[in-house]
Structures are given as C-alpha cells and as structure tokens.
Symmetry: C2
Subunit: 121 residues, 2 copies
C-alpha cells in the first residue's frame, strides 16, 4: 500500500523480454518489461492484455496491420488475437502491462524466451 | 484495438470526480478521472483499486496516514481498506484507475457524487 514509482522500478532490471511483477489488483497483475527487437507471434486464448508505453515507441504487429503505440498511450490486445510486439532501430521500449495473474507472456507458444514465473520487484 | 492516448482522452471531459471508461481488460476497466479537493471516505469490500497519477500530486488518505502519489507513480488500495483521495491547493489531479467493472467509485457509501454508470469515451 505504498506508492510505486514506475521509473524507479525500471532501474531494477535490465534484461529485455523479461517481465517483472510490481503489483497485483484482484486477480490481475501489473508487470514491467523492457522490449527490444521482435518478440514471438502468439495469442492468449482466455486473457486480454493491456500494454501501456512508458518510454519509446512500440510497434504492435497484428496479422493484418501494425499499430504504433507511443509513450503516453496504451493498447488492449483482446483475447484470441495473434500479436507480436516489436521495436524498431534497436530502440529499448519500456512498457507496463496489465493482465491476469496466470497469463503466459508467450501465450499459446512455448519459446526459449518463455518464463513461467515473473520476479517481483 | 486502436492505441489510446491518455492525454487526449482527458480533453474529452472536464467535471471533477466524474470517472470515464476508456477501455476494458477482461472483467476490469480502465477509467480516467479528474480529482480536485477531497472526495468521500469509503472502502470496497471485494475489489482492489489501482490509482496511477498522470498529472499532479494525489494525496491518498488512509485512517492512519496519508500517502503522496506523484505523476509517474501508482498506488493499489486493497479491498476493505478505507480511503479518501484528495488534492491540495485546489490542484486538479489526473488519474488513471484499474478496477473491476462493477466497482462503485464511492464503494460502500451512497453519496451525492455517486455515479452508477461511467460514460465511455
């Protein structure tokens, strides 16, 4: 029940595509991640996923288009929709995600980047 | 599934203590509100509530203390905990809230400010 400073939490880890949990809200979690390059095409059968951009420009690829999400903006990816977040020109983009506690960040795909548990910071 | 610009959404309403829904994530909602002055002491029996400060300084009063939440920070108020958001010196503070779709913003208290439905913007 203490205020959480988002920028300060981002100083606590450096690895890209490595989500860290900073809070829970009922059965949802707030996680932070540093994204760089391209992730993995995947979807979440049962969970929506909110990406709020804190720093940089996120390119959220869908199969039919790409949405550009700038700092100060967010996008909700609905359940079942294939997506693949990426960044351009080697930019490291900082995002805050809001999603169910049991959401796997690679969704229905098992990948070398898949983490089954997120460190708490 | 379009990006949502938080600042731009704040231009769409002016009334204080009047939440507007900008997105849903599963059974949760993202709402924006402009706070000024003192709200109402209340709690939510079943729902946690996240307040992310976009502009200004929020003073979140609890019965035993006040937490100061600045822009770029957020605080989660756990279910069952009495709280009363307020701002000082007539400052209008802009907040983004994550909470269950059925959360009443005045919680267990019926007040002249109580809204039962939030406009969608």
């Amino acid at each position: 029940m203490k205020p959480i400073n988002i920028q300060e939490k981002f100083t606590k880890f450096s690895k890209n595509w490595h989500p860290h949990q900073v809070a829970t809200v009922d059965d949802m979690q707030v996680i932070l991640a540093k994204l760089k390059g391209e992730f993995v095409w995947h979807s979440h059968d049962e969970e929506d996923e909110l990406f709020q951009v804190i720093k940089g420009t996120l390119h959220m690829q869908f199969r039919d288009r790409t949405e550009i999400v700038n700092a100060g903006e967010f996008i909700v990816v609905p359940k079942g929709v294939e997506h693949n977040p990426c960044t351009l020109n080697d930019e490291e983009v900082h995002v805050l995600l809001f999603e169910k506690l049991n959401t796997a960040h690679t969704g229905n795909v098992q990948h070398e980047r898949t983490q089954t548990e997120y460190p708490k910071i």
